[in-house]
Symmetry: C2
Subunit: 429 residues, 2 copies
């Protein structure tokens, strides 16, 4: 059981009976989701993706990754939202298990409008060999489009137009959109984003897989973990489906006015996994003036900042804790003759041992303070469990959004600031 | 007006009249705060600190910083919560204005219980010259105490006991606590945390200033900015006091069930400034089962993740936007013959120009969606404005907490998880 992921509702203040009252609803939504899998307009292509992904494209990704590893020090990933968060989440989560010698550094641009940030990166890569992976469904999203103009120009000045061509890899929609056209015209190597998979559900497609592979991650194992999860969570019986139980539990808590979910972990390198989760859930569920507000916390760090609020602030919070049971390395706390810091009672123990007790103590304290805790027990972080976890959260999100009564696959509100911005910039004049 | 900071309530949906109804309340709290300044039990020493700080200690900090710059590649800062967040906030905020050649890299440990994280740092510093600044009021807080055991051991193995002595700098309470005792016994150089200033208000004391100075920051200018703010915000007339207006505005919004405040910025390097703000406000106000939940966002990045929720989720949110008007560098968007990405309408403009329009468009969109926005206009980020801003938030927090009817200077809830943890670890057996 080295690669197990298990939902633990013991601290959730929800009885099994309550969960099971959702059985029929869950069955219905499950069936409905499955019926929509093959209909492109529903953006449900991710459901069977771990089994049905394009194997030829997958081989192409590995080939490109090998080329980049040979000729580049850095891969610049240009993308925003779902076009970079998934890759970054996985790459950072696996940083302690990835073989550094088989890894190229990944740098992310096109996800903000900070001139300082972009200039810093231009400066950083000036003496390095670079490749680019530009990721955009349309090619017209302002932030990545600007970044691509800048870095394409930089590449052409550095390597010449022909040289740049061999170092720019485009991930976009097949036969559609501005970026596709640019890629055809400039003869860039292309990878495709399936049309029936939305941005925030795209981590297991070329969108996420190329940067992962370049970073030295075994993407076969990622897909195996996802496939394992696809099978595991295809059971429409709530009793045996942890993924749906998570969806139901958070909806029960939401009904009890727990309107903020803090996704917490004790491993700082999972920060971007939580950012990815925040997008997945916030963008899927924040509709019709409802939905759980997704927030993140890195403990024990944030126990010394948000901790007071979680313990004694408004009682509208629940927590979901990613409990990583085994770490890749450890440290034994040394004995100290003087013991002025009074730590000798844990001398000889490991840091992970102390962390586990801190976690348990925190869960108890927060639950006592009326903050229900959902625990996701994860044996260890590796490619297989990360693939599993990504799919777990995707499937749970689809179920949860439907339980909430909204469409978890659109994002109508994201366009509003863009429209205002285009007007202010005079795009339509 | 190059160093100006100004509160803008035009998008807050609060009338000036409403603000001014708080005049008398504010006057009373102001007076009460001033009366408590000299009473150590109230932790209000930070109020007059920018004028009355220990000048001799300040010179000592600069001397230590110069020594570390001469003999170290890295300064390891050991501290958690208020003992590292302030320094990190300032150092990251100023990263684009700091002279890199006058700067030593700062690394932060003792703020978590991740063995992977600590091992990564041990590995990273193995071939570098290092100094340590350990920061703790008591010296017994678990996370920094463990880290100090580990890194003190590492230093003694690397430099010998005498050599390590010259590279370990202790910031703690005068004549009290475990860390003070260790420092005396080991003859470490000591800096002091004033007893009447709490952790989250301590950024302008030795706690924050030594790491800042080592990182190449002009700490005189930081203190000048804070002193300017101290004078500016000492006016008890709400009409002329932006700092108190911010406090009042957020309390009015809280009364209207806006229970989540998102502190947002368009500059990613302000991430830790927001983390510092989250601690300051969350730990000060999250009491009696009330208080605004403090959250952060980096835009435009998070418009593609949290954006949907902010636009159309539950209407319990308001935003406070740090608007940095001038950036230290810029980039002109290049013209492209083909224009397939349709960006030529902004060719010749700068990224900062586009960012400003994106910001304005976002504010309008969110306000239209019933998310009130408070804007803090900041001419530019430099030592002086950061010093100003830190004091602004501290003073506003004291006012805000008092308006809310809680004591903004204690943190009773932080102890609960610790007690559970100590029991689980068998500390009292």
């Amino acid at each position: 059981m080295e690669n197990n992921i298990k939902l633990n509702l013991d601290y959730s203040k929800i009885s099994n009976h309550e969960i099971m009252t959702y059985s029929e609803k869950v069955k219905k939504i499950h069936k409905d989701l499955n019926n929509k899998v093959d209909d492109k307009k529903y953006f449900t292509g991710w459901i069977n993706w771990p089994e049905e992904y394009d194997k030829k494209e997958f081989e192409k990704i590995k080939k490109i990754a090998n080329k980049v590893k040979k000729d580049s020090d850095v891969l610049i990933v240009i993308g925003i939202g779902g076009s970079y968060l998934g890759a970054r989440a996985v790459i950072e989560s696996l940083k302690y298990v990835t073989n550094k010698e088989n890894s190229v550094e990944i740098i992310y641009v096109g996800n903000n409008l900070s001139a300082n940030y972009i200039n810093e990166i231009i400066d950083y890569v000036s003496d390095k060999e670079i490749s680019i992976n530009v990721i955009s469904k349309s090619g017209k999203t302002t932030e990545p489009a600007i970044a691509f103009r800048i870095f394409r120009n930089l590449m052409e000045n550095k390597y010449g137009i022909d040289g740049a061509r061999k170092r720019i890899f485009v991930t976009t929609t097949k036969r559609k959109g501005a970026l596709y056209k640019i890629a055809v015209q400039e003869k860039y190597v292309k990878l495709y984003i399936p049309e029936n998979i939305g941005g925030r559900y795209s981590v297991l497609t070329s969108v996420g897989l190329l940067p992962m592979a370049v970073a030295g991650i075994n993407i076969e194992d990622i897909m195996s973990g996802a496939k394992f999860a696809q099978e595991k969570y295809s059971d429409d019986n709530l009793k045996y489906n942890d993924c749906y139980k998570y969806a139901v539990a958070r909806n029960i808590l939401y009904e009890r006015d727990k309107t903020i979910e803090i996704m917490g972990t004790y491993e700082p390198n999972l920060f971007y996994l939580i950012e990815w989760w925040k997008q997945l859930y916030g963008e899927s569920e924040g509709k019709n003036y409802s939905g759980i507000f997704p927030s993140g916390a890195i403990y024990t760090t944030d126990l010394h900042s948000l901790g007071q609020y979680v313990q004694e602030g408004r009682r509208n919070i629940f927590e979901t804790i990613l409990n990583i049971k085994n770490t890749d390395s450890d440290i034994i706390i040394n004995y100290d003759e003087e013991n002025l810091d009074e730590l000798n009672y844990i001398a000889g123990k490991t840091i992970t041992y102390v962390k586990n007790k801190a976690m348990l103590g925190t869960i108890q304290a927060h639950v006592d303070g009326d903050v229900p805790n959902i625990i996701i027990d994860i044996d260890k972080i590796n490619e297989f469990t990360i693939g599993h976890l990504l799919y777990f959260f995707e499937k749970a999100c689809a179920m949860s959004g439907n339980l909430l009564g909204i469409n978890p696959f659109d994002q109508p509100g994201v366009e509003k600031y863009k429209e205002n911005m285009f007007n202010l910039l005079g795009k339509y004049e």
